[in-house]
Structure formats: C-alpha cells, structure tokens
C-alpha cells in the first residue's frame, strides 16, 4: 500500500514537472476533455436534478411541518454546492472516466504500446498522463458547477410541486440566495478539483502498473475505481474540515 502511495506521489510530481508541455498537448487535452465533459453531461444532469429533488424531499416536509419551510432553499442550496454535487459527481466520474483511463493505459502497457513510445523517445508522462490529468482537472469542476445549478433547480421544482412541502419556487431561491455565498460554490469547486487530481493519478497509476493480460486490465480498472472512491471520501472529510467556516 505504502509503495503504491509513493509511486502515485512520484507520478503526480512528474506530471507537475511536465506542466510546461500542456500547450503542446492541447489537442489531446481537448479530446479527453470532450470525452469526460460532454460524454458525462446528460448523466450529470439527471443525477444532479434528482439529488437536489431528493434533498428537498427528505428535509422539506419536516421543515414545513415545524414552520421552517422558508429555510429549505438555503439547506438544499448549501448541501448541494458544498457536499453532494462535488462528491457524487466525483464518484460518477471515477466510475466512468477513471475506469476508462485505467483500462486504456493498462491495455497500452500490456500490449507494449508504452514500450514502443519509450523506444521512440516519447515520454509516456507527457503523451499519456498529462493530457488526461489536465482534462479531468478542468472538466470535473465544470461538471460540478453545472450539477450545482441543476441540483438547485431540482430542489426548487420538488419544493414547489410536492404538496407536503408547498414552497413557491421564488421563495426557495430567495432563501437560497440569502444563505449560499459565492465562497460556498468556490469551496465545492475546489473540492472537485482535488477529487479530479485523485481520480486522474489513481487511475493513470493503476494503468501504468498493469501486468498480465485482459485479467490484469480488469483488476486494474476495479482497483482504480475502488481506490479513487475510498480516497475521495477520505479527502472529502479532510477538505471539509479545512474549509469549514
């Protein structure tokens, strides 16, 4: 385990050192960005709408019953932007894009494509890791921003439509506006940026250490997703503690 952590830190450091090559790899970055961002957009939209709706549904009736229904917009808005959207979107992207990264790089490793790159003096960090890392580090916060907005809309619609809550959409958003600050959205986006780095490094590392044939690739994909999710949840606690007002 400690060996893996060490290797991941070294990989992260080497990727940071390769950052000056970012402009040169812009085409590949854009391809990965499009795949992560555009490919996940519909799923993010559906998931975020229901997250907002469910949060409203879980808390709304109780608050309405105790005559605190006016605070629902703030509660939904705050929890979606600071916690639910960043963590659930990170888990979604770990499953969707992290697994793809580990599988792609793992199969390149198994079928000697990475060795072929090295014989051509092409650094695999520059060619394979950097574009994926930069793409996910940009795409995930953007998806989370989108998820936050859709989640709020979902919460607002459910609050207005559900007759046990029955809070007008204007009142929901007025309270949300009073409670949620730009800084809260910024905290959520910062968290998602950190989660993106975790997904990128864990998945690329698992791909690079793949051994064996298709079974080895399958094992790497599973490890990439599981390890990413575990680390995301641990880091979520740490970041929440650090960013707490």
């Amino acid at each position: 385990m400690f060996e893996n952590i060490g290797e991941m830190l070294v990989l992260f450091w080497r990727t940071l050192m390769a950052l000056p090559m970012t402009l040169r790899q812009r085409h590949k970055i854009f391809e990965h960005f499009f795949e992560i961002g555009n490919g996940s957009l519909l799923m993010v939209c559906v998931l975020a709408f229901f997250i907002g709706g469910e949060t409203a549904l879980q808390t709304g009736p109780f608050l309405a019953e105790k005559s605190f229904g006016g605070y629902l917009g703030g509660i939904v808005g705050y929890s979606v932007c600071r916690e639910l959207a960043p963590i659930l979107m990170a888990i979604l992207i770990a499953g969707r894009s992290g697994s793809a990264m580990a599988a792609e790089i793992g199969s390149m490793r198994v079928y000697q494509e990475i060795d072929a790159l090295r014989t051509m003096n092409i650094n695999p960090i520059h060619y394979l890791i950097l574009p994926r890392m930069v793409a996910i580090a940009i795409a995930l916060p953007m998806l989370v921003l989108f998820a936050i907005l859709v989640g709020w809309v979902g919460g607002g619609i459910v609050s207005a439509a559900n007759n046990r809550i029955d809070i007008p959409i204007q009142a929901f958003f007025k309270n949300l506006q009073e409670v949620v600050k730009f800084q809260d959205v910024g905290n959520g986006l910062f968290k998602s940026f950190c989660f993106a780095l975790i997904i990128g490094i864990v998945s690329c590392h698992q791909g690079l250490v793949t051994i064996g044939g298709p079974r080895g690739i399958g094992r790497s994909v599973t490890k990439a997703v599981v390890n990413s999710i575990v680390l995301i949840i641990i880091f979520d606690y740490i970041l929440t503690r650090v960013l707490l007002k």
């Binding site: 390149m108 000697q112 494509e113 060619y127």
Partner: protein, 254 residues
C-alpha cells in the same frame, strides 16, 4: 529528412557479461557477443530462453543486473549515448497504438518531436509506407490490418527514425509462411538499402538461416553457438542440433 534511404552511420554493438534475474530465476547468465556495423545478427533459441529480455536491455527498456552493452564502444547506461544513436525496435506484437491510424502511427516520432511540418510528415509517411509495400493505408486503423501488415507498419514506424540500429523481436511469429517470407525479404531489403545494423530475435529457423550474416543460439540464458549460418549448422553441440532439427515424430501406424 526524406523517406529513409541510406544510412552510412550504422553502429556496432557489444554485449559483455550480461546477466539478468527475475526474482530467483536466472534469465541471462552472462552473455558475451559482438555485432559488427551493418550486419544482420540473428539470435535464435527456444521460447523462454531470454531472447526478448536481451533485446529490451539493448534498447534500454530494462537495465541489466550485471554486465554492460556498448554501442560503438560507448556504454548505453549513460543517457547521452541513448540520445546520440538512433535506435528502433519492431515489437513481436507490432505494438501499434490502437487509437491512432496507420499514418499517425508511422509519423508519430516526427510529429511528437516536431521534427517536420504536418504536410511534410504526411509525405514522408506515404513514402515510408510505400517502401514496406503498404501504399495508401494511411487512414486505416490497426484493427483493420492483418498480422503481416501490422508487422510491416511497425517496420515503417521504426524506419521513420532513420535508425542506425534496428531490433526485431520475433518478426515472423503468428504469420503464415508467405507473410513470414515477405517480412524476411523486407529485413534483407532494408539492410541492403540503408546498411542498418539489424539484430533479429527469432525461433523461426527459415527466417534465421535466410537473413542472417551471423547467428547466435541461446539456450536457457547462455550462448551455446555463434557464427555464420554454416558454422552454426555444423556445430556438433547436442543442444544446438536438437533445436535446429526439432521435428514432430509421427507414431507408427499399425
């Protein structure tokens, strides 16, 4: 740079006391041999005798545990030497990047190192593919090619580097006899055309005796015979003879 043509800077390779272990398993047990500039040197031996490991050490993908490899008398362990000489390897599987087209695969070295403009790269790629008999396949994906075509694309990709030393890892494995013959002729033609030093690892006897200037036979990590094809054929060593004359014995029909 145009399509690879002549290369008068071919290099000599010397392997001294090379040892490699994987865990407790001894893969290479102290190899010593010399490859002359411009020579086609074939390394033969049964599967698992350490041939591919040897190639990976020569191109710097793996480090030896003991011993050294010299290119024109300079140890490859210093990074400057690896940068100084142009080397290329044709992998057993071809190792083409499956997400790229044939043209992108062949031109990858030039594109990634920004050695040429895109239109010039396209022209060189087309010329190089023509050399290996694959004219007009630039837009195909590797998955659309046969095994023999993949190997020839891999050779084209190696040629684009204008190598001084080219290493072939089992170039005819998984190929039918006709495709294997085409690859063998390709190796000879390239050697004649550009005088590139070639090291070929193979357990294909027909290929080895067809293309080699000299042959080394490796069995269980040690060289048991080295010399011209005639010298190796006439070597009385039972390990060599067993490998060279391995045939299926048919049971008697009663």
């Amino acid at each position: 740079m145009s399509a690879p043509e002549s290369n008068n800077n071919c290099v000599g390779v010397e392997v001294r006391g090379l040892k490699k272990n994987f865990g407790r398993q001894e893969i290479l047990k102290g190899l010593d041999f010399k490859v002359e500039p411009g020579e086609i040197f074939v390394i033969m031996g049964p599967s698992g005798s350490g041939k591919s490991v040897l190639l990976k050490q020569i191109i710097g993908l793996e480090l030896p545990d003991e011993g050294e490899i010299l290119i024109n008398g300079e140890s490859i362990q210093s990074p400057e030497v690896m940068d100084k000489y142009r080397m290329a390897m044709v992998f057993q599987s071809g190792a083409l990047l499956n997400s790229l087209t044939v043209g992108e695969n062949v031109g990858l070295y030039l594109a990634e190192h920004r050695l040429k403009k895109p239109d010039e790269i396209a022209r060189i790629v087309a010329q190089t593919l023509d050399i290996v008999g694959l004219k007009g396949t630039e837009e195909k994906m590797p998955s659309e090619l046969s095994g023999g075509m993949k190997k020839r694309v891999a050779i084209a990709r190696a040629l684009i580097v204008e190598p001084q030393l080219i290493l072939y890892d089992e170039p005819t494995s998984e190929l039918d006899p006709v495709s294997a013959m085409v690859i063998g002729e390709e190796i000879l033609r390239l050697n004649k055309r550009s005088h590139v030093t070639s090291i070929v690892v193979s357990h294909d006897r027909d290929l080895a005796f067809g293309v080699a200037d000299r042959i080394a036979v490796i069995v269980e990590g040690s060289i048991v015979a080295i010399g011209t094809p005639e010298e190796v054929k006439s070597k009385p060593d039972p390990l060599v003879q067993k490998f060279l004359h391995a045939d299926i014995k048919r049971p008697n029909k009663s």
